[in-house]
């Protein structure tokens, strides 16, 4: 085992894995974390704890992940290269693993100008591929980056990364995931999928490169709350494509949120049939209370007990 995390074991035993997402509080109110954990516990194998997503200042992903463990769930700590250099990130990896965090997702992070500290100096000492390689070196070679200093202890991390099959240039997207595989990633979570045709095309490229045999691909799914949300995302979020047919279906529905859940369940069932997809990553943004219903309706419950 690489880290012995619940998520790793779920994959190793051949189950279809389920993760979700938890955005830390915009302050130190631990009650926010507890509330979200209570919505998710028992429905997912592990939960991603985001790292100042959209560059909005929130409680650190390490501290929040530690609380998530105390509350009886397994975190997947996200780490972005936007805010920390390699000294700080390696130091934080020592701390995170010591606190019992066993999964990480290595990301570049949303650009700081999208957030609430637009005058910050961004760091980007490493990119996400280089961060993946650094964590793998720390885990497998037991040295710091550069290979000289031995680490006291073990950095048992199950290493994740992200992929966006919907951004451009499309032909480079699978190659970039292959680079992450070569750098040492164990699992990949994708951007939210609405354009199933393009996702399937990307998965074919992934299979042609043999990446699906080395890496567990988790399909990213975000339930739509309304036709308005669908239109907004389609227009304003770069790297997300939503087919018109889906927007129309949301618009024509008697109750948008109900239709959104229905679509989400159908999407889970559809991606489950695709060769090489080993799980789903459910990003119910500020809608964590729906995860129980979605996983139940999609036939993903009960979650496997792997210990």
């Amino acid at each position: 085992m690489k880290s012995g995390s619940n998520l790793e074991k779920v994959f190793e035993q051949g189950h279809f894995a389920v993760t979700s997402e938890l955005g830390p509080p915009k302050g130190n109110d631990v009650g926010v974390i507890r509330k979200k954990v209570d919505f998710l516990r028992g429905f997912v194998d592990a939960v991603n704890v985001t790292d100042n997503q959209t560059a909005i200042v929130r409680m650190s992903s390490i501290a929040t992940s530690a609380f998530v463990i105390q509350m009886g769930m397994e975190p997947v700590m996200q780490m972005v290269t936007r805010d920390r250099n390699r000294i700080a990130m390696q130091s934080d990896l020592f701390g995170a693993t010591a606190l019992g965090i066993k999964n990480i997702v290595c990301l570049t992070g949303d650009h700081h100008t999208f957030g609430n500290q637009v005058h910050a100096k961004n760091v980007h000492d490493l990119d996400s591929v280089q961060l993946i390689h650094m964590v793998k070196t720390m885990r497998d070679e037991k040295t710091l980056m550069g290979g000289e200093e031995k680490i006291e202890g073990e950095i048992g991390m199950f290493i994740g990364g992200a992929a966006n099959p919907f951004a451009d240039p499309f032909e480079f997207r699978a190659l970039r995931t292959a680079k992450k595989a070569a750098a040492g990633v164990d699992f990949i979570q994708t951007q939210c999928i609405y354009d199933m045709v393009r996702f399937k095309e990307w998965m074919k490229m992934i299979r042609d490169l043999g990446v699906h045999e080395k890496v567990h691909i988790m399909a990213g799914i975000t339930p739509l709350k309304s036709a308005g949300m669908a239109r907004y995302m389609a227009k304003n979020v770069a790297g997300i494509t939503i087919p018109d047919a889906l927007i129309d279906r949301m618009a024509k529905a008697a109750k948008g949120s109900e239709e959104g859940i229905k679509i989400c369940v159908e999407q889970i069932q559809e991606v489950r049939e695709i060769e090489g997809v080993h799980g789903v990553h459910l990003m119910a943004i500020e809608w964590e209370q729906m995860i129980g219903r979605i996983t139940e309706s999609a036939g993903l419950l009960p979650r496997p007990k792997v210990d």
């Binding site: 999208f114 000492d125 980056m145 992200a162 919907f166 970039r176």
Partner: protein, 223 residues
């Protein structure tokens, strides 16, 4: 070349408030090319400053000069007599040129009249764009001649982020995605396979500005 933009006149007037006799020095090199601090801009700014101070009831006497390259010691030294006759210098050269004067004239205040912006090229008349960050270890050979350090908002070395859409960057939607350009050019050069190579972490700490101000010493050229 170095690209710069003139500072707002209100800010310049604040710098010059204590003085009534100055030298306005332009530069015949980079800032002339980007129309920020050449002979023409020196003349225009000088008359604007004179008019502003005249109407404020405190006339400002301005000498005008535009050395060929303000950042070269021999041109700076030629200004010795002139600078001896004024209370301060307003320089329209880049930050380098300002500091050349600073080094040569220890008792005269030297004020910047432009904001030095970046190392860039002329894309078309009236449009300049950043192309180099002087990182100290050029990787253009690996990236099909397009620099992701200067041209990607996240300085990504291993491919485009998820915000690359229709060839443009999500951060500034009028800006080309550097990695789209790298991809397209690699394709036209028949070198797409090279993009699968992982570019390792850059040695910022020892090769870039992060190791402190850099200098180049060539013993063979010293006199």
């Amino acid at each position: 070349m170095i690209k710069a933009e003139q500072k707002p006149i209100e800010e310049i007037l604040e710098y010059l408030a204590p003085h009534d006799h100055i030298l306005l020095s332009g530069c015949g090199a980079c800032v002339t090319v980007c129309h920020a601090g050449g002979e023409k801009e020196v003349a225009l700014l000088a008359s604007a400053l004179r008019m502003a101070r005249q109407s404020a009831g405190r006339p400002l006497e301005i000498l005008e000069v535009t050395p060929a390259r303000q950042c070269e010691p021999e041109f700076a030294q030629e200004l010795t007599d002139t600078i001896g006759r004024v209370q301060a210098v307003l320089s329209l050269s880049c930050g380098v040129g300002v500091q050349t004067l600073t080094r040569h004239f220890p008792v005269t205040p030297i004020y910047p009249g432009v904001n030095t912006a970046f190392l860039g090229e002329t894309v078309e008349h009236g449009l300049w764009a950043e192309r180099c960050q002087a990182c100290g270890n050029c990787i253009l050979e690996k990236t099909a001649g397009v620099c992701p350090i200067a041209r990607c908002a996240k300085q990504l070395l291993n491919g485009p982020c998820g915000g690359s859409s229709n060839g443009k960057c999500e951060i500034k939607r009028e800006t080309d995605c550097a990695w789209q350009l790298i991809y397209d050019r690699s394709k036209s050069l028949g070198q797409l396979h090279r993009l699968t190579e992982i570019i390792p972490a850059k040695q910022w700490g020892t090769q870039s500005r992060d190791s402190g101000p850099r200098s180049i010493a060539r013993e063979d050229l010293k006199v």
